[in-house]
Symmetry: C2
Subunit: 576 residues, 2 copies
């Protein structure tokens, strides 16, 4: 029997000292729990992803020093810790300590270089799988991407290295649907190799990424034996009954065929000899159930918002409240992330604001318990129009005047941000920025855009879900039920300029998340609307390039995930 | 004797039809010139870099269709054309046509994945070098990065494929110093392999990249035999005396050693049999001399500004004129790129603007022949202050009020941009954005920031150089000679907040371009200033993330070239 301790931690990029402290505390806790093996997520010491900080000598030095300090904390157990390892080159690696001694390194073999990932830019790949030979069991080590390959190092570690347990250190970023997809894969991997599989994931937000946690232990049959909390720092302490796994493996029919028919692959063995296991009290059982998909996305947004704010040293955030659903949901997330006292709402009514909008904002602020400030924009808006009048003479009002109002609001919010040192949250959603239905330096102004990757239809679903969780009134029903409007012109509605969101969002999903074919869309929704939307997406890359970061919750977010040229004459569809 | 035609062309990303038309015109011209071999830059058909457009099915389809059309244009000669090639995977490749027939593909073997480049994200690498066997000579083909490796495919093509000429199709992005460095490398490569070497480079701007051209032909002794114009579409038509190269190679002592001591590498041969060479008139000689480093950078900026504007469909640009040197140089570049009639300057004086500043802007506009508009900001600035007064009560004026002025200006400029459809050029330089001495949504507002990668000291050098080239008055001498000031507070000078630019710029070069050690800097300039600058650079990543693109002219620009996390607690230097 082997007791594992998976430390699902929230590392901060560049905070090597703080991350080291967390690991040391985790090691103490693990020791106190009678654990044999302590495990962190990938890159627990440097944080993930460190990006071009990996080219900064002082950053690499700080990590080497932290690694040297780490050993002393590993007395009495075996520790597998996610680090960056500098040898002749840089490796994304795990350091193996046992009873205070550094025993060796395991280098990540499969470096992701797609989507959000740029690991070929930084790391050399490891070439040989590693098994840690512990007196009680053989433990194969893999790092994140490694485990996604059915014929990756886990297989060689099990087949040729005799691993009883495969451990995976991950910093696996969240998107909606990922948790289920990943658990299914891990479960299959455990069963395919006839091993226990312990998955230790990062948790917390880092710029546009959120790591969802969901660390877990899988049986050789692929069942989940233990699971950590989602979106929170947590531990999995679990006893792994490795005694019978030899017999389990010996009668695995596919393993037998593989051993007979394949050429053995080299596997490095790192031997560890920690002192005998201490007295161990039995573990309490706890069951952590999966959460609904709305709750999952909502908590991802809360986590991303909280960590961006706090890790960047802000104590308070502010945001404009329009009476609409985007700002209402953003405020709700901010309150859940930081507490009511840390959130300030600002209403900035204009000549086009309906009475209802102001009322809805006030009701929202009251329900959420946040401070509200009111700054009418009529004065500055008029002053700007007056200054521009000689230059605009003879020209009909157009988008210029609409944007002007949005920019007065952006300017007022930034003035408050600059004066008080609060982080400005912008409130744009993915549907808007996809088609450019938003104003640069206006409603797009801010340090963090919580809903950046949330399509409008999902904004509604999340708002309804959150209202269902609330004790009393939360997001005003009127905010959810009224027709969406930017209120930048008389009686303006989103539907004047855009197709209904129930049509727009599925089109955008195919165009952006899936890079799919236009034809089936055109058949379903009509050519005109699909071509119009595709054209808008193509034309508005320049706006998206200047947006603040926001939480990625879909398989393909704007930002590092979708790298489009601004200058491009390609049209997905030929214009008629 | 073989006649080469290097088509140094300006492709536009995504404009497959337009690029195809240019190639077809080039082929006609080559045929008319009696050329045997026609060569384009890398990715002449799709444009470079197409980034995630490479994941868009309609883009790949458009390229396949263009490739099919291409053959018909290659009657009577051999053509080597940069394309993307879809097989079982995607390849950055050259298509080999001869007399109208597609003969095969050459796949790029060395895929760059550093700095600005992400080719591992998109392409599979070729595995075998290719030599085109023409009746007159053997021609080894390489694509861009391939030629930068001394033991890359060029070597195998020469050593084992018997190549007499190595051809390199490139889209090699410019930075200051690159031209000399690249010519030195190409010259060495020609001499090392004892071959003629023809380098055909892209020219023109694509978002932050500028391709400088400088296509050239090198002798087996490493001499430049012919060279194309810098920063312009151009042709190199050159006769290559391949008759004697066999004897040249046969007596190359290092080649003899290599052939004896190394294991032969496989080289694919593609045979072409174009009709016999036509009657050929002798070629006129022309000599293209290297240009000064200031002219080189200046012309890179002109090219980048021109192509961003035109390729994105703008006819006119506007920019704010402060009376300072950044806006003056930006206006000068815009005029050289687009013509005086396409540039509009806007002065927006405030209570803190000196009389001199307005005069200098007016003098500049007169010298450059551009339209100038004046919009005082006092009205909107006061209206904003008034709106904010109840919320700012009891707080001393700080950066909030300074930024407010910059944002009024940004808002006015964007209003003109929106009203008239002109592209707003922002005028920030690299020194400012490195340390955050600039206002988000204020002076940073705009679609393109021409000087984004130009350190302030270089802004001065370029202004002086340009004035030296001018017939009459150009940038007012007072603009160059007065102390730099943002004029956002009474008697404000840049030097109140920042070290002198002669100190700041060398520190920034080490920190940003070189990721070098702090210690030597601290010894030279004092610890305090170096630590302060490093702290400012670290803290202002969030601002830089929301800047418009600009022309890269240093070895490491902000943008795709330097990918730093915003959320990072790493300090290059420990704070005291």
């Amino acid at each position: 029997m082997l007791r594992l301790f998976l430390h699902q931690m929230n590392a901060t990029v560049g905070d090597t000292a703080g991350n080291l402290r967390k690991v040391a505390e985790g090691l103490d806790h693990a020791r106190g729990s009678g654990a044999d093996i302590y495990i962190t997520p990938e890159c627990a010491l440097p944080g993930y992803p460190a990006e071009d900080l990996l080219f900064t000598p002082s950053f690499i030095d700080a990590n080497r020093r932290a690694l040297e300090e780490l050993g002393a904390h590993t007395k009495g157990l075996t520790a597998i810790i996610g680090i960056i390892h500098r040898e002749d080159d840089l490796f994304n690696a795990a350091a193996i300590f046992s009873d205070g001694e550094l025993k060796g390194f395991v280098k990540k073999m499969n470096l992701p270089n797609y989507g959000l990932f740029d690991e070929h830019r930084y790391f050399q790949a490891g070439t040989t799988p590693v098994v840690v030979k512990h007196p009680t069991a053989r433990i194969g080590i893999t790092i994140c991407e490694d485990i996604w390959f059915p014929s990756g190092p886990a297989r060689d570690e099990a087949l040729w290295g005799g691993a009883d347990i495969i451990i995976n250190l991950s910093a696996s970023p969240y998107h909606s649907g990922k948790v289920e997809q990943r658990e299914r894969m891990l479960s299959t991997r455990a069963a395919d190799n006839g091993v226990f599989l312990a998955f230790c994931n990062m948790v917390g937000g880092q710029d546009e990424m959120v790591f969802d946690g969901h660390s877990a232990l899988f049986s050789p049959e692929g069942e989940v034996l233990a699971r950590a909390l989602p979106f929170e720092e947590d531990y999995v302490i679990a006893d792994v009954p490795v005694e019978n796994i030899f017999h389990h493996r010996a009668r695995d029919p596919r393993r037998r065929v593989s051993v007979l028919s394949e050429k053995p692959a080299p596997v490095n063995i790192i031997e560890v000899n920690p002192p005998g296991s201490p007295e161990r009290s039995p573990l309490p059982t706890r069951e952590i159930l999966p959460i609904s998909s709305e709750e999952e996305v909502y908590r991802a947004l809360v986590t991303g918002c909280r960590d961006y704010t706090i890790k960047n040293g802000f104590e308070k955030v502010l945001l404009g409240l329009s009476g609409g659903i985007d700002s209402a949901l953003t405020a709700s997330i901010a309150v859940d992330a930081l507490g009511s006292a840390q959130v300030v709402g600002v209403t900035m009514p204009s000549r086009y604001s309906s009475k209802g909008s102001v009322d809805d904002s006030e009701a929202l602020a009251k329900n959420l318990g946040i401070e509200i400030k009111t700054i009418p924009i009529e004065g500055p808006f008029n002053a700007l129009l007056e200054s521009l009048a000689p230059h605009f003479e003879g020209r009909a009002p157009n988008v210029a005047e609409e944007n002007l109002q949005a920019r007065v609001r952006g300017t007022l919010l930034m003035a408050l941000s600059n004066k008080f040192g609060w982080l400005l949250l912008s409130t744009g959603n993915k549907s808007e920025s996809s088609v450019g239905y938003c104003t640069l330096y206006g409603d797009m102004a801010g340090g963090f855009d919580v809903l950046k990757d949330v399509p409008k239809t999902l904004v509604y679903a999340l708002s309804r879900w959150r209202n269902g969780e609330a004790d009393g009134a939360w997001i005003p029903v009127n905010t959810i039920e009224k027709e969406p409007s930017a209120e930048l012109a008389p009686d303006q509605l989103d539907s004047d300029s855009l197709p209904p969101y129930e049509v727009l969002d599925p089109i955008l999903k195919v165009l952006i998340e899936e890079e799919g074919d236009i034809e089936p869309l055109a058949e379903k929704y009509g050519e005109e609307v699909v071509h119009r939307v595709a054209g808008l997406v193509d034309r508005n890359e320049y706006k998206r390039r200047q947006t603040p970061p926001g939480v990625r919750i879909t398989p393909r977010a704007f930002g590092k995930d979708r790298r489009f040229p601004i200058t491009s004459r390609h049209k997905r569809v030929s214009s008629k």
